[in-house]
């Protein structure tokens, strides 16, 4: 079952396309990271998935074919919007009560246990809690609904490192123990390797990379060799070229057993390095199906020259 599936999904605000021709299929059981620069369409995609916005064109379904925003979809999806919106004047206990009343399922004991773990007093107003506590409260409200899909929009952007770690630990526990599928947007790349096992890279409203992180890492290599010879590998699928004084680093799409040319070394690529390379090359793409990475031109000029 696909936890979220889109086809030609586009959304326009005024004359700006927030999302264009976005086609995705994320299988259930993943912690999927939605990555991209500001304005890439991450929030728009999440809003479409949860029914807070309607597509301009294309289709989106969630939880195996349900319409976003329909009661059946909302029942299985919990969404924590950016900055964790809560009723600031309500005490935590009333936020629990509110959420319990608005949903078919609500695990009160789980919620109270989790708030106690994080030292969040039930009687304190949500607006008086620290940023990390507010985020934890919002996450607790979402998880106590026992969702099958948890959508998080920039959940840790405003948090300090400790709160960030705690937050992600909670998410990972829910994913591992309760089998909750997670789709979280973030522009903090460093977190992702530890947290996510599926990557969706959005750029300028288009999907650039989508796939399981293990597959992506296995199908990419960094080749390091003499800078002068960088142009010789035009036939390979080069995503990004980084040149130093003497050496060039090529991120290429290649399997682990692909032959490495003499004088060149092959390295495994890290997720952050991979994501950064694609973010720097909006023209490159790694999508399921036929490879779409472009070949490196024979004559590369400036070090910053990119493949087109």
């Amino acid at each position: 079952m696909n936890i979220i599936e889109t086809s030609g999904l586009s959304k326009r605000y005024g004359s700006t396309w927030a999302l264009r021709e976005c086609s995705l299929a994320v299988p259930a059981g993943h912690v999927a990271a939605l990555v991209g620069p500001n304005g890439a369409g991450k929030t728009t995609l999440l809003k479409l998935a949860v029914g807070l916005a309607a597509p301009t064109a294309g289709t989106v379904t969630v939880l195996g074919g349900r319409t976003p925003g329909s009661p059946a979809a909302l029942d299985g999806i919990a969404f924590v919007a950016q900055d964790a919106p809560l009723y600031k004047n309500l005490p935590a206990v009333d936020m629990l009560h509110l959420t319990r009343n608005l949903n078919r399922r609500f695990d009160q004991r789980y919620a109270e246990t989790r708030l106690a773990e994080f030292g969040i007093p039930l009687s304190r107003r949500a607006g008086k809690l620290s940023g990390g506590q507010q985020a934890q409260l919002a996450l607790t409200l979402a998880l106590a609904r026992r969702p099958r899909l948890l959508l998080l929009d920039e959940p840790v952007a405003m948090l300090d490192p400790v709160a960030r770690h705690d937050f992600m630990a909670t998410v990972l526990t829910a994913a591992a123990e309760d089998g909750v599928s997670v789709l979280l947007s973030s522009h903090v790349l460093a977190e992702l390797e530890r947290v996510a096992d599926y990557l969706i890279l959005l750029s300028r409203g288009r999907v650039q990379v989508a796939g399981e992180i293990d597959d992506l890492l296995a199908s990419h290599r960094v080749l390091t060799g003499p800078a002068a010879e960088a142009g010789r590998y035009a036939e390979r699928s080069v995503v990004h070229v980084r040149r130093g004084e003497a050496q060039a680093h090529l991120l290429v799409r290649a399997a682990a057993d692909d032959p490495v040319p003499p004088d060149w070394e092959a390295h495994r690529v890290g997720l952050e390095e991979l994501a950064l390379a694609y973010l720097r090359e909006p023209g490159a793409a790694a999508l399921p199906g036929p490879a779409r990475a472009r070949a490196l031109p024979l004559e590369t000029g400036e070090p910053s020259e990119v493949t087109r």
């Binding site: 195996g64 600031k88 309500l90 009343n101 949903n103």
Partner: protein, 306 residues
């Protein structure tokens, strides 16, 4: 067999049993109890005033109605003091403001606050559902304010009963512009209308304070437009050439006509009056109370629609 006795899968379950409507009652109360308490306080304070003054009004009317002889100066004074007791309500215009306040401070924030603080992203993604949430909240709050307004109307009709019974001896007649829109179901209806205006303004403007201002402005505009332009079309006006229409009448227009039925302009009337030097005051402006009589003698008729 285990497969057959397995509980329904969540997605099937969800389509069968939505979250019950009644659960919104607590939600609505918890989130809007201060606004509802404000309505109760406002109407309660007015109700106490109306009750206290109303007792005096009833006494004063009983005394004035029992006064003999009816035309004497003492009786006239009694009636005018009876009439003056209503002064604190400014001829009902204070009460006209109540629906506006309810619309602005209960209706406008319902959706505008969710939009302004971003909490709609929480509220509209819960299992209850966006449209059901909105519908339940608006209906519950509308019912609450309409019920409060309805109860207040009962007190108001008791309060004005002596005035309406006094007929045209006081200005507080049932058709008086300040009171007409408050009688019977009209007060609750205006309250509901103001609430709806407030909710609509809130969803369009998405900010609380501008939505409140817009609600007050829109309500005032609607109330004045209704009083000035719409109300005269409720019923076909009656027409009389009697120069003394009933005292309780709400006069829409008055016009002088010739015996042939042609309307007469103000300048023609002035010329006619110029010809009556004993009546003309300074600058040709007639001062005498006998203008009506004088014009009637010269073949003009005053038609009054009411």
């Amino acid at each position: 067999m285990t497969a057959l006795t397995m509980p329904a899968r969540p997605e099937q379950d969800a389509s069968l049993r939505p979250v019950p409507w009644r659960r919104m009652a607590w939600v609505t109360w918890r989130q809007h109890r201060f606004a509802l308490a404000g309505v109760a306080a406002l109407l309660g304070a007015l109700a106490v005033c109306l009750w206290l003054v109303g007792l005096q009004v009833h006494h004063a009317y009983a005394a004035a109605a029992a006064c003999h002889p009816a035309g004497s100066a003492i009786c006239y004074d009694m009636f005018s003091s009876f009439s003056g007791m209503d002064g604190f309500l400014a001829n009902g215009f204070i009460l006209q403001a109540v629906p506006a306040l309810i619309g602005a401070f209960v209706g406008a924030p319902v959706l505008a606050r969710e939009m302004e603080t971003g909490t709609f992203r929480y509220a509209w993604t819960q299992g209850f559902g966006r449209w059901r949430w909105t519908l339940a909240k608006l209906v519950l709050l509308a019912m609450a304010v309409a019920a409060a307004a309805g109860l207040f109307t009962l007190l108001m009709s008791w309060y004005y009963q002596p005035y309406f019974a006094a007929g045209n001896q006081t200005p507080q007649t049932p058709l008086f512009p300040g009171l007409f829109g408050l009688r019977g179901v009209a007060f609750a209806a205006w309250t509901l209308a103001a609430f709806a205006i407030g909710a609509l303004a809130g969803v369009l403007i998405r900010r609380v304070v501008p939505a409140i201002a817009a609600t007050l402005a829109a309500y005032a505009g609607l109330a004045f437009a209704t009083g000035l332009f719409l109300r005269q079309h409720y019923l076909t006006p009656l027409l009389t050439s009697n120069s003394n229409p009933p005292g309780s009448a709400w006069i829409i227009s008055q016009q002088w006509q010739t015996t042939g039925g042609q309307p007469v302009s103000q300048s023609v009337l002035s010329q006619v009056l110029q010809g009556a030097p004993q009546l003309a005051g300074k600058g040709g402006v007639p001062k005498s109370l006998n203008v009506t009589q004088y014009l009637s003698q010269h073949g003009y008729t005053q038609w009054t629609s009411y």
